[in-house]
Homo-oligomer: 358 residues x 4
């Protein structure tokens, strides 16, 4: 029986390497899953570059697809051999935050039950998914069985990309007949576009400058796609909406420029739904903010997790409401993961997302 | 019959003077009311100082209490002689914004039906309330009869101060058992404190440095009041909440410092409800914003208007749930209004709000 | 200049006849529109049969498509010759009910501003749309310009059928990934099906027994359609959902049987969204109601009206998110309206909706 | 070390007796608490009478106040000796229902994660609180530490009475300025009255016929109390509201008569919030239901549970927003529980709630 496994480990800034680690022990509430497919996220690149700090020696990755190999003694309702995913965010289910519906800010074990981004554990505070095996904490809260009809790649975007992207539209409370702008059409922005479409927006405007992304944006539901390298997106959105602005503006990049543009195209009373991970202070310009008198809402959302969220997202795929496979542009074996990071971090060859199979 | 009236008119920056103006004609949807009591708002001081631009010759003021003297030909459901108030914001009722429930951004007459702050007309885009007579547009949407049992002064805070202050708690979606911080305890902050109390918050923390305001804050419902001139309010709120932070932070001043403090004391997943009128760009600091991953909501609200809002606020007074009369600290005749501005703009003599009677 | 017009008039139970009436005078807030297309609703059949009482001599019909011929003196923002629709429900915009967002229960002119079904005026309390001309009250609240690209028939379902049907899904708060059952697939049930699809439901189950309706149900978005004449729909829905039940059950007929079935398939915590017009008391069976301990919501909705609602629905058509033209199965001239009633009331020849053109 | 304990056990209809049972073993997620105070609920009387079936030999009661004596091996964040309460409803935290925020319909261990009333376990599907010791399942989700300053009796209403009563106002979405009627002023109705008051209702009308309850109703926040034995409450409420009806009607008894009266006093667009446990089918009368066209909401709520809910309710007590001690009218030792049942079931001597101390 194998006691060791291979895992992509953060060594130091600019060094994530494949290394041997012990297969973890399974506590009473845990499950051990054998990873069958996983992927690399933009956040992992921040970790690689040392822009987001994690402990040295940590296994990175938070988007697992796999098979249950061992269940904790207190885990009920699953069986070994079952194909499952878990969300990038793995809430405990029992903290004050969870009981308020604020799963991503789970503070299990803290005094008050709220912890900033506390639900994000994989590849952040505990070992992650870019490995042969993954220990899933609070397994009963987090393991979601994969419908038989769906392949690994069909559900690979559920743990993070779809969940985050859709939440952009959901937190924006998109309604039937809304006009929505989505700033940046990377994997998450594309899923925000798809989410806005799924919720009934009737004019969806995507913004990007990479032709391949702009093309996929249309397939994911955008009615208009603006190439910001050629056209000022604020002006163009105001033109397309005949000066009215949008009901919901989704920020999916994490930059001042996109945040500000989102605010500038927002109609009074509209919602700016922010998904991006920012790396510096943001400025809210006084004019578009209407000096604080615009009845605006700015809402940020960290990837919703938990097994029920995962079930619903897989339902979307199974019901053929959305196909996220076009986002998987490249495939690697786990032992090629350093190559995969190189490609993905440098955004070469039109890469959107990579599939990694141990 | 009087054809002329006295009105406080904006002449140029730093000059609001009492002058004679014609009593306005009454259009089919209008009502003319004889002002019996009105007041001066912080916004009027911005106008006085030239910080908020209005047309020269405009009558200022947006907080009317009065008696109907003439009804437009198409106005139904009121009678001359009736005591009424109208909100500071006078929505049309029929714009797209109004039909979406976004009354303050009313864009009646515009192409799309949304106009930034479009509901604010009195003393902004049309003649205001610091006069002997006031023309109320869209009277059927805006005139709210005063219950007989209530005096003018008892309802004087309804048109703006109570409506705005309460909306800080309402937009923050305060729930039973919440912890709420209110930054600044001027008239609006005091009403935000009262609103949080009315909605069931169980720990309410007010922040100010003026002893009289701190004292009233307790009477309006604050459980704790922090003197920011002596104690760092962020540290103190975190101490009072044992490190947890607040569920809802209400900003009631319009400054970077209070906005930022509100964010710093907010728990993950909490709501920053902003009431202040800002005069420069705002900075969102990266750390307290959790880089955009904190599931935070930032919401701004412009004073809710319309007769139904006014009815509900007067119900609060009539039902003795709140007494706003302690906010009226000084009284002037209309012909003393320049003196009233001088006192109020310079915040002398512990002034909170003044009552002006023509 | 024509002073008379033809109109379908309720004479007595079982007699609606085409008769000559004066073209109405236009008050300051009204608009007169020349009807270019209209239709007959199931409610009109109730009126015909004397099951819903209206005044003798009243013009029936509440689904107008037309052209503005005259605007009231106080009406701003429109021009004569403009193609418009108005909703079946024509709220005033200024009543307490409207200012609460409860447009359909508009009580303009009443003491409290709420009136049961008060927003429904056309063909109920004032002359309706099955005529050459229609007087639209509170025109600024109600007239919605038709985009040039859309034909009359393309927007004919907006005033009532789409607005009501969609509201079934909206009031049910359908979310991405929901399972929804829609009981009855008449025109409104079909639009409820389409609405559930537009809002992101991933399993939509329609119930009917008319093959043509079952066929259209699939085109409108149903994933499954149950023929209740062959299969017990409660059992079948529980089978299809593997015993879980549905998140939202929409009742679109107005009978005890469908109401009860909707409750029986509802999961704990689910919402029964009722659109039907009932004609007798309803029974809530104790067991499916979980004795009142099921965290259930039962919500009823009367067709949302107002110009902003109409604009959004026309956006859905213009954006090609839904095509309601398959619902128009028969066409008549206004002078054939008695024949049209005969066909429609008796549900002959697979009729779904008829288009009537003066 | 004691291995046996005394417990109130359901033997057969009309027989609950104090009997000896083994002190339960503690599983990894459980906690054992020594009961210091508990009480009897109306539901327990249903069980006693055989109207609500439970297994013979089950310990009844679901309102525990106690001290932790033993923690399961996987339980973190508590210590033995800590004073705690748990809600009447003890959700797992990890079922699909819980992850949707529908804690009371928790279906942990079921295929779909939803189970009707599944969160109610104490004294229903597992041994309850009327005993010397109580095993609390999913302890990390359910144990709420009692603030030192509060006595057992001060928090005794939190597990069920306050939580259920408040939820009547919360599910009714009571807003500042609302008019609310509460039908029946037993312990739960009294807490619904208090909840409506806490949320900002300005006219609260209680209905009962027992003078002592009517008296307490006023202390809990009712502005008017109607004696239904002397006055028709529907007529009186319509008179008090000048014909308008109420925004929210709360049913707190579980009878056709009160349910129907609640609907009859509801304004169009209002919410009927039902707390009662019904024992037969309900009839919705066609007229007050406006034939399904009244934009009404009928919502039922089962006592919200979980430690965060308990924390918030204890905050209400600690902050002196409400004192529920007047509800505790009688006190018994556990060995007198049969006498306590006799008093309570027969509603003798003005009993509201009893405190039972082992």
């Amino acid at each position: 029986m194998a006691k060791k496994m291979m895992a992509a480990v953060f060594v130091e800034p600019n060094r994530i390497v494949l290394d041997e680690k012990p297969i973890p022990d399974v506590g009473p509430l845990d499950a051990l899953i054998r990873i069958t497919t996983t992927t690399i996220c933009g956040t992992d690149v921040h970790i690689l570059k040392g822009e987001y700090p994690v402990a040295r020696g940590l296994t990175v990755g938070h988007e697992p697809v796999g098979v249950i190999t061992k269940l904790g003694s207190a885990v009920d309702g699953y069986r070994e051999g079952q194909r499952v995913i878990a969300g990038a965010i793995t809430p405990s289910g029992h903290s004050a935050a969870c009981l308020c519906g604020c799963l991503s800010q789970d503070g299990a074990g803290t005094r008050h039950g709220f912890k900033p981004m506390g639900g994000w554990r994989f590849g952040n505070t505990i070992d992650g998914a870019q490995a042969e095996y993954l220990l899933v904490p609070d397994a009963m809260t987090n393991l979601a069985p994969i419908p038989d009809a769906l392949t690994d790649e069909q559900v690979l975007m559920c743990p993070d990309i779809m969940s985050t992207g859709f939440s952009g539209a959901e937190s924006g409370k998109v309604r039937i007949g809304d006009t929505v702008a989505v700033f940046a059409q990377g994997p998450i922005g594309l899923c925000a576009t798809a989410g806005a479409r799924l919720m009934g927006a009737t004019t969806i405007i995507g913004v990007d400058a990479v032709p391949a992304r702009m093309e996929i944006a249309r397939r994911m539901g955008a009615d208009h796609v603006i190439d910001f390298s050629k056209t000022d997106p604020v002006e163009e959105i105001l033109r397309l909406t005949d000066g009215r602005g949008v009901d919901v503006a989704i920020e999916a990049l994490g930059r001042q420029q996109t945040f500000e543009a989102a605010l500038r195209v927002l109609r009074p009373g509209g919602t700016l739904s922010s998904l991006g991970v920012y790396s510096s202070d943001l400025t809210i310009p006084l004019g578009p903010f209407l000096a604080g008198l615009g009845d605006h809402t700015i809402v940020t959302t960290l990837c919703p997790g938990g097994k029920e969220r995962m079930r619903r997202l897989m339902e979307v795929i199974a019901a053929k409401r959305l196909d996220t496979q076009p986002l998987v542009t490249h495939r690697f074996k786990l032992n090629e993961i350093e190559k995969a990071y190189d490609l993905f971090a440098n955004q070469r060859d039109g890469v959107l997302k990579v599939a990694i199979t141990p």
